[in-house]
């Protein structure tokens, strides 16, 4: 069995072009082939504009490639209907964004429950799951507090809680420590370590050495101009 068949996520010659055939055309990802195995922690590192976030979006099914193939758990993403892709995104992935991307006027628990709204899950079951996640991230005491009133670190933990509420197999994190100080960054890495220990596959885009040099990380892919360079390994 080769690495491709064992891979949870596999990309083959993936390219992403923004504004194609226009003067402002940008090739953000250029022929990337890689794979991510189940349960591993992978980092995409590189300077700003190197294409990490774009590749992360492709791996997380948030956008479709202009060319190439992305296979998630055996399913070719490019061939999936919109509805199926949404379901894959909802069931398989949990996203932690650089800017957190929370709804500031909603409470902690409301933000955390958002991914469950379209699932049709019973309210009591939703509450039960929220309790579990908030407790894991030590946010039980702040469940009714508006997100905008929380500190940066707390907001980051809410974002992690939201990413976990659907019990996804893959966590995708874009520059998760960009707005955190060293202590909070270490705290976050500790949380990610716990999640990995629980069997979650984690893909992180970052240029923070604290992250890509952390023992948690299995493999590091360096990116430049939309291409993957050397695999740093661990």
């Amino acid at each position: 069995m080769n690495s491709s068949t064992r891979a949870l996520i596999l990309t083959e010659g993936v390219t992403k072009v923004y504004n194609p055939r226009r003067p402002d055309e940008v090739v953000a990802v250029d022929g990337v082939s890689m794979h991510v195995k189940r349960g591993e922690v992978v980092v995409l590192k590189g300077p700003s504009g190197s294409g990490k976030t774009s590749l992360l979006s492709l791996l997380g099914c948030m956008s479709r490639p202009t060319a190439g193939r992305i296979v998630v758990d055996g399913r070719d993403v490019a061939k999936l209907a919109e509805g199926v892709l949404t379901r894959v995104r909802r069931q398989e992935f949990g996203f932690i964004f650089q800017q957190y991307h929370l709804i500031p006027d909603l409470s902690v628990v409301e933000n955390v429950l958002l991914p469950l709204y379209p699932t049709g899950m019973r309210f009591s079951a939703m509450e039960e799951r929220a309790e579990k996640v908030l407790s894991k991230l030590e946010l039980e005491g702040k469940r009714r507090r508006k997100v905008r009133r929380l500190s940066g670190g707390e907001q980051q933990r809410v974002a992690v809680a939201r990413a976990l509420i659907n019990e996804p197999e893959i966590i995708v994190a874009d520059e998760p420590t960009a707005h955190l100080d060293r202590r909070l960054s270490e705290e976050l890495l500790h949380i990610l370590e716990d999640l990995n220990r629980d069997g979650k596959t984690i893909i992180i885009a970052t240029h923070d050495p604290l992250v890509y040099e952390h023992p948690l990380v299995g493999r590091v892919f360096s990116m430049r101009d939309g291409r993957i360079g050397a695999e740093d390994g661990s």
Partner: protein, 385 residues
């Protein structure tokens, strides 16, 4: 459950932008209230007019002099009776009276002693003796007179004449009796100083309603100086007058509605960066295009239906509680005074449906369509922009 959760989120989303949404609801409700008021008022006036005309004579014959309405000789009554198919023929005595005290126009009618009264809505009694009168509720209110009081009016010789009020029409709804003062015909003739052999017009009943037009034509042929007006012509005139007035008003206010829709469209197409980001976030965390569209549908639906209901209730209260005080002067026109006039409340499902169709659906569409453009875009692209 899924639908309920999305509806819940839509309501919380509207609440988060409550000041903006409230201002839209206020403007939208006002526009709908004005449009609905016009429709309710016009319809009520037509219903009232039709109700009155049920008891109207089949033909009213006036005399024309130089194209203007003039008094008609009473001896024509016998001539009309000779026409085959004609039933009862009666001279009618009536006129208008401007009352400087209340600043109102009253309609004064003379009642034949032998004639059966068409006016049924009476408290007290009809005038049976000289110097007695019955008044409409509008007159009663504006002159503050009741049964047993005296109503003083100034006659054609500029002399104040006191009449004993023996009856008050209790009609709150009836256009006809509201500004009415009823006397015995002889009193009215004397009050206006009419020549003895003249009447204001002559009413003609026809046995067979299919022959009304034929009888009217025969009257015209026999007496070319007269103008026979059939009941159906009066109904058509009422319809045309109210339709014309309401049409004018509706044109003006539909323009306002269209302007509002353009604004709403502009608001919706110019979906704010925050809203776009929210759509991107929701998509990224697992909401589908259909979920986003459902969310936006509920947002638009809640705003437009709330505005629609508020607008309809405001219109109902305006027309049926406050007597359409803002619109009535425009719709009802100049010739008749309706002090503190009230209509009979009604709900017309057809009107409600049409109004709903013309207001709720365009607004919901103007909310959904631009959001759809955002919702079908990849979440990463939405969040990037």
């Amino acid at each position: 459950m899924r639908r309920l959760k999305i509806l819940e989120y839509a309501i919380s989303s509207l609440w988060r932008r409550r000041y903006k949404n409230l201002s839209i609801i206020v403007v939208f409700s006002f526009t709908i209230a004005v449009l609905a008021s016009i429709l309710l008022l016009t319809h009520s006036l037509r219903v009232e007019a039709t109700h009155i005309l049920q008891d109207a004579p089949d033909v009213v014959v006036q005399r024309l002099v130089a194209g203007r309405h003039d008094l008609i000789p009473t001896d024509l009554v016998e001539s009309f009776k000779e026409i085959p198919g004609v039933g009862e023929v009666r001279p009618r005595f009536w006129g208008y009276y401007y009352d400087a005290i209340s600043g109102a126009n009253y309609t004064l009618i003379g009642l034949d002693e032998g004639a059966p009264p068409d006016l049924e809505l009476l408290e007290g009694s009809l005038p049976a003796s000289a110097g007695a009168c019955a008044v409409g509720s509008g007159v009663s209110r504006s002159r503050q007179v009741a049964i047993g009081d005296e109503l003083i009016l100034v006659d054609s010789r500029n002399i104040g004449v006191a009449f004993d009020v023996v009856g008050v029409f209790r009609s709150e709804s009836d256009i006809l009796t509201n500004d009415l003062v009823v006397f015995r015909s002889l009193d009215l003739v004397e009050f206006f100083g009419l020549p003895e052999d003249r009447a204001t017009d002559i009413s003609v009943q026809v046995f067979n309603e299919n022959e009304v037009a034929t009888v009217a034509a025969k009257i015209k042929r026999k007496h070319p100086e007269t103008r026979p007006i059939t009941k159906s012509e009066i109904v058509r005139t009422y319809d045309a007058v109210f339709n014309w007035r309401s049409g004018m008003m509706l044109t003006v206010f539909f323009s306002a509605l269209i302007a509002f829709c353009i604004l709403a469209w502009d608001k919706a197409t110019g979906i704010s960066a925050d809203e776009k980001m929210e759509v991107g976030i929701l998509k990224a965390i697992g909401w589908g295009t259909s979920d986003i569209l459902e969310l936006k549908f509920w947002e638009g639906f809640v705003i437009s239906v709330t505005s629609f209901l508020v607008g309809q209730i405001l219109a109902f209260v305006h027309v049926f509680v406050f007597g359409a005080s803002f619109l009535a002067p425009v719709i009802k026109g100049w010739s008749v005074l309706f002090p503190d006039f009230r209509f009979v409340p009604y709900l017309d499902l057809y009107h409600i449906f049409v109004m709903g169709f013309l207001t709720v659906i365009p607004y919901v569409a103007s909310t959904i369509i631009p959001s759809w453009k955002t919702a079908i875009t990849d979440p990463e692209e939405v969040m990037r922009t």
